[in-house]
């Protein structure tokens, strides 16, 4: 694994943890939208805004809708050239 990839995974975890107000230990690829009360539609918007700020990207609406889990989020970010 490259250092960039390691750093990006860490950055991603931090964004999830801050936007959803959960601990980093709760974050894994299987964590799904609406599976915990903290990841509701309000937090989803905050998550999107923080992801865009962190990785300097602008997400398509379809990708925002598709971002149904942490794993899916990683897949989507790869499309925007984020090494993960």
């Amino acid at each position: 694994m490259t250092q960039t990839k390691v750093n990006n995974i860490q950055r991603l975890k931090k964004v999830f943890s801050q936007s959803l107000s959960i601990s980093e230990s709760q974050i894994n690829d299987e964590l799904e939208y609406n599976s915990i009360q903290q990841w509701d539609s309000t937090a989803h918007m905050a998550l999107v805004a923080q992801l865009e700020a962190e990785f300097n990207i602008m997400l398509d609406i379809d990708d925002i809708i598709d971002m149904s889990s942490v794993g899916k989020c990683k897949e989507i970010l790869k499309k925007y050239n984020v090494e993960l």
């Binding site: 918007m45 905050a46 805004a49 923080q50 865009e52 700020a53 300097n56 602008m58 398509d60 609406i61």
Partner: protein, 270 residues
Amino acid sequence: MLNYKIEQSLKLSGKKAIITGASRGIGAAMAKAFARAGVNLVLISRTEENLKELVHEIQLIYSQEAPLNKREKTDGYANKVLYYAVDLTDENTVKKTFADISSFGGIDILINNAGKMTPKPLAFVKSEDIQSQFEINTFAVIRCCQYVSRLMIRNGGGSIINIASMLGEYGQQGQSIYAASKAAVSGLTRSLAQELANYQIRVNAIAPGVINTSLLSVLTDKEKEQIRTRIALQRFGQPEEVANTCLFLASDWSSYITGQVIDVDGGVHF
């Protein structure tokens, strides 16, 4: 024009605002008013020459009046104005523009002002008249709100001001499509205010009456006179009078106001 002290008391100096439809009329008046208040500006409309000219005027305002530039000599920080000569009815262009704007960081204020009016009796309305008015008056507003809300969330809040219309509130013969496209903006404003309040983003609209701009060139003198007699103040408004309301809605003076459609119409009665 407000006096310099009032503009300073708004405490907008150093904030970042996007104004659509900035190249002339109400949008240009807003751009100048916000520049005098020391706001950094992103101006959007299609015609590049008009925008370039306006940017030049804004830079003069910054150098002479704006609060931040008074500090330039001491702390090396000055106001900035950018422009994008783009068509906001193109979804991809809107996305690219906001992606570009996002590289400058968060945004505090969005004024959705670009608009178009094609008055026609219903029987003469073509599909393209419906499409073109809704594209800029409604759909572009929705898209800009979608993108800017994310830039405002990272900033911890903001103020969105949509320019609706008196016609969207009261209607008028020959204006059914324009009125419908603007009524949609009022509905959008009220709902979005509820949704974005979670992120400290306030959303309000201004419903101007008849304001002296080139938009009125589509009305005949007879139509204008008929309208004038229904205005309590017996005159058309000036673009600066809409801009002043915008300054208020952008500033913390309106910190407890959201989801409102404010009439700036000289007291129109039907």
